[in-house]
Symmetry: D3
């Protein structure tokens, strides 16, 4: 029987299943008794739990545990009164997709679509550079998230976002014949690869923090340097290198969003908009996933607005 997801839990519910440990500490209550304070997570949300037993060691953060208990309300928030808690053993079969948010497509399939596109590029210099960069990061690309929060913060989210943009680019290209398809596609594929150097993610796609390089340089500056190094290794110079570096440098659109240059040619401008639209659609989708038709979300800080879930069924009946 499949375990209940955290999102669906209410008061006074018995729960048994696997959960990811996000926070875990032994504390002392005001009456002196020791207890475990744990924050669990599955792919639908988080839940705090207490185990009133001073003899149990706190499980390590990032591990998966089997847990049993009853939900109760405390100060208006749901909490799990833990009855039993143990680490995994060999008999446990855990479906990790239930515990951490993951991209909705298979990573290997997505990566194959990406590399097939790379191989089909006709421009030798573009193909060589892009291929080298994808190879450099391909292993981690399988599971890296797109961000720590905000959009595509899920296992394989970086790949998911890149592929979303790639399909969008292919859909849009026939409408703007002035765009060089090879250049745009190359830019799409490499634009965020260096997030893999910027973020410190485990294989579940959970980001602990930024790396030192990520904080001191950022994925955009790292990326420009990596294109330069790669091209130098391959003996490629001039226009292809310069165009790719500019596209990477300008893909956030403005200095206040981390791009020291605005897009200066059509493919760079389009890359910027593909990035925004794919990210926004994902972010709005997430934010509205729990909002019923006719209602508004709380304010979404990253978008600086409340969102509305339209009553689509009324488009026909009224």
């Amino acid at each position: 029987m499949q375990q209940k997801s955290i999102l669906t839990l209410t008061k006074d519910i018995r729960f048994e299943g696997y959960m990811l440990v996000r926070m875990s500490e032994q504390r002392t209550g005001s009456n002196g008794t020791k207890y475990l304070d744990i924050t669990f997570a599955d792919c639908t949300g988080e839940l705090n739990g207490k185990l009133w037993d001073g003899t149990v060691d706190p499980p390590s953060v990032g591990s998966v545990v089997k847990v049993r208990g009853v939900t109760q309300e405390y100060n208006g928030r749901l909490q799990l009164r833990i009855e039993k808690l143990r680490p995994l053993d060999d008999t446990d079969k855990v479906d990790m997709n239930l515990l951490t948010p993951s991209a909705p497509e298979n990573p290997e399939t997505m990566l194959a679509e990406l590399t097939d596109t790379v191989k089909a590029l006709h421009s030798a210099p573009l193909r060589s550079i892009v291929e080298a960069l994808v190879n450099r990061y391909s292993e981690k690309l399988l599971y890296y998230p797109g961000a720590q929060r905000i959009h595509h913060a899920e296992r394989s989210g970086l790949l998911h976002h890149t592929l979303g943009m790639l399909r969008l680019a292919k859909a849009v290209l026939p409408l703007y014949p002035q765009l060089n398809a090879e250049l745009l596609i190359s830019g799409v594929i490499i634009h965020d690869l260096c997030k893999i150097e910027e973020l410190d993610s485990d294989e579940l796609g959970i980001v602990k923090d930024y790396t030192a390089e990520g904080l001191l340089l950022g994925h955009i500056s790292i990326g420009v340097t990596r294109i330069g190094e790669t091209a130098k290794d391959l003996g490629i110079t001039g226009e292809p290198v310069l165009l790719l570096q500019h596209m990477l440098l300008s893909h956030h659109g403005e200095d206040m969003y981390g791009s020291p240059r605005k897009p200066m040619f059509p493919e760079a401008e389009m890359l910027h908009w593909l990035d925004i639209v794919d990210a926004r659609m994902n972010e709005i989708d997430m934010a509205l996933s729990k909002v019923p038709p006719g209602a508004f979300s709380e304010k979404v800080w990253s978008l600086d607005r409340r969102l509305y879930q339209p009553q689509y069924d009324r488009l026909d009946s009224e």
Copy 2:
């Protein structure tokens, strides 16, 4: 024989052909002699001319004249020393497309594609409202430009821009199944219709100025009101009206660009993006049309940057 276009003229060239009169005045030189000072235009640019004959009446602004003369340089700028100038008569066959910038597709064909799309909408309330609005403005829609300057400032430019967005919407919709296609398409078609009330354009697509309504209210506020009136006439209330009004209100994205509301549901956000992308691609295309490969444009003020014309041929050879 086809006449030379202004863009191609250089010093000491004999010109004969039709031109549009943009400015026309009789002046007195420092030596007391009277002369005509005229600014001509064709679809590629403008050219100043002088006719040193005090007896000729200045042609009216907005008219087309036949003119003959020789180009010369004065203070570093090209000028036409006019030898002969006359109004059109019945024998003249003028191709207006050579004199004013026009959308690259036939207006009737474009309008047909638009109205076919409207007829194919399944949602009765959306279709009724959109149909009524398109009918209201269809005659002027055939020639109205998209703006006074900046992007799609050309005969039938408004239709051209709307259709560009419509095709883009259709290309993008399969990638985002969460979007309601009918709602997005309806929003695209009506989003800028009230520019017809905002701008005062002649049938050549040349905007003399904004209208009083355009300056005091703007096309967004006029549009929201027109949707309201139209729905009231049709007896439609509630969700479809509210959603369309919000999409129109928010399609510029932010208050600083004239939208008092940010897009609050996915179709409104996508509409905003389609609008920007189509406008930007057109604007960049125009700005780069005279820039040779490997060179930069002057600063484009509306984009706050210089643009670069890539050397696409080097993507293969280097």
Copy 3:
């Protein structure tokens, strides 16, 4: 005997009287006992209370109850230990003005002053439009607040604010003969009427939330549409409609405050300033009401500053 107001309560005070229920929930303490957690309010403030009795049903939010108890301090905040709590019965005589903040004048008298002013307008088109709009909203205008928070957040506050501006307009008009009095007065009366469609208020003037129309369109856009509809119904077109719509559209002064147009004629500019000054005087008055002479308020966020209560008596003695 009149009940004590919440503002005057201190520690260890016995309270008996009527209070408005703002929040009401049954909770379970850490020791498992159930209790009621209620937030009470009167027109001077709010007070949290606990009833340690698991058998009492929580009263409904928005209702008035009779309550008895003793104040005590908990974590530095005052709290009511509830001894008895019951709903109203027929014998209770509650003065609602003690429970919710209300405008300092009688609503019917204020409305009469407003409608008398409307009737005295000489301009037929202005009078017809303004009269129709006031009639449309007059019932709710009697109790609607001016805002959810900030200024005039009180029963009949919208009417209070409108009347304050109206009197100010009449005081100011003799000094600026270039202003058209009829136009300015008309603008004042209708400028905020559509807050009645924007906010969802009960008859006590307490706003639960914004309406969907309020969030998706805002009272300014709704108002422009309502003027248009009303004028159309009355067969009025042209200048009077356009001027009123612009005044409404521009009365917040700038796009960053929700006005997509800045005021473009003198009456629109004056309307904007009348609105600000009446709102500000009310807001500052509220914020300083609890500050003794010579002291400063905490930072008032909506004004982005601390306020000072002057020692007026020292203006003579020093």
Copy 4:
């Protein structure tokens, strides 16, 4: 016979009368002949003139001359071909009000209204300080303009603006009983007095430039210092001084407009509003003075908008 005003001149008009000299220089034409190049002004505008006579000395800037000539158009602008030019002699009777813009009321009468108000103040410390400051500047106050440009840039404009605010204050005070009338009135009277130290104006109210003190310190900082000095001389300390200094410091409302403090008590806030309203009404009045009903002004840079002259007669007829 009254002379023609510059505003009313058109091409080929004979002019004879007095004009103020704004610019005056001897130049050499391309053919080597010397001529006088003069810019004249009256209270309605400016006019350039040429005197083709190398033997005439250029009149001094700021002087009034008698001039005769004929208007002609040169490069689309009106110009005066000067036939005769001479300085004033004893027989000339010049009405300076025709030559420079002046406040519409008599300066002595305005100053009397101001000083009467000061004498009527009951608060001894406020009256003493305000009286001392008005006395200090009263002579120059008779003719100083309110600004170099923008609003009240006219002879006695500073007095005109101050009196406008004073009357406005008296009209508004009955509506806000929480305001201390004496404090507000004192603030109004002294708020801009130190513009007399900031600007370098001649007795016609024409500002040549800012003074060094004006540029390095500004009238606000000078004013705060002058209040301090004056109070010290009078032996007044504490609240009255502090309140007046804060009102002066904060009357521009925000740091970006030169006020390092926002208004922190009600009279300071009201002072700020009175200042803006009176200045804006004057500025809009000026800008619309040449715009016919139903038309728009050019963009007014200081207001960042175009202005509209309403068709007030249509408020009744439509």
Copy 5:
């Protein structure tokens, strides 16, 4: 034996020593028992403590007490379970430097360096003004902090900051011969003196709040007035006064940081940068003091960034 500093305390440590009382209140627990809730401080940080004895009076805020107890963890934060608490008596020898942060140099020595520099000024007017101002504030200058928070928030911090800038000025002057050394040095010494009127600090350098003058006028406006008064008393007028007043007025660089004038001559510009660099170095130093090599601080709000502690030892070995 020296007492343990708060920064070094961990769980279950016995503490005995002197501490400063920052907050002190008697509270009632949920079970009705009364207890003391005290926040202690030494120069390394703060620590909350509880004394479970309803009969002990709360010590006064700002006093020093002798305290004994054991640390424990409560809700993840360290707390002191107080066993004994008493006020100081004559036998106690308290080193105040251990209890409050102090500048790293002796105040008297620092003041002497400052006054020696003043005496060495050759310019009579500058020296007289600066000397008078330093004398006016010298007593409080010995202990005043540089700010309530942010930088140099320590006993004698104002003197420390001023001296830091003075030494920096002397180091920098030889490189920019265009700078007038006397003027720059004078500006440095007086630039922040009026913080003594702006802040209300006790002799330990702890700021309770801003003064009324500080909030209503600010140290910059107070300072400009004090220079004016001082110069008037000394009979000095013109350039020296104007230059000093401008330097003080502009030393925050921009209106958004409280300077209504930008620096307009070289010494004013340099003063602004000396102020920033000395403050920043101090602020960064503080923020990094607890960050180990290779790690990042939390976001420092006043600097709007995280800080990094470099691994300096790797500059040689790698």
Copy 6:
């Protein structure tokens, strides 16, 4: 005899000497005669000249010519009526320092001071990287300007600016012992080196335009890449590379000035400050060079203010 400098020329002066050609074109006058229109320059300014001889070929831009003529005023501006003009021949001895602005110190001496400092660095990785970069650019460093305009726009200006900062760093370091001197000095030396790839300058230090790399990437991004490549070539990795790259990336201080990262450690912050101070002192020096004591400059756009030349002599006498 030394030739007259352009700055000192007035009307009706005979000039003979060498000048740099900035602009050069053959034009046709309104009467059909051809003439040469040339803009000359020396290190003090520019001067337009006309040669009324249709047979002379225009000299090439950037060349130096010998010219003779007489100054005259035309439309209020000085102009040279050229009598004779010829290219240089072998007998001409031109002191280029008179023709183009140059740094006040000898380039070779300055470069020697720089390289000596590099050699004295103890940190092997820092020294290797800095040495390799200086070597890479040392030839062009001898003459490159610091910018196209604004500050240090002079021959060898980049070296001059770098050396100014280096000396400033050495003066400041003793005051902040927490700073790592080697790191700061390394950052100073390389921070602007890649302006040599960003700007296209001739050997006179005159910048024709930005390079394509300069416009598409900017000297900051190029610099980060060059550090990376250089370190890779040298086999250096980790902390030294990361710190240098961050210092370069952040030396403009904020994203709005082209730095995608704010300085995150003390040396990076100090580098930013040294850069601003040295640039500002140079810029203010230039702007004030023609302003007499007691006067103000016109508005300096890059500084957004007018500047004042103090009357330093009054600091003693008043």
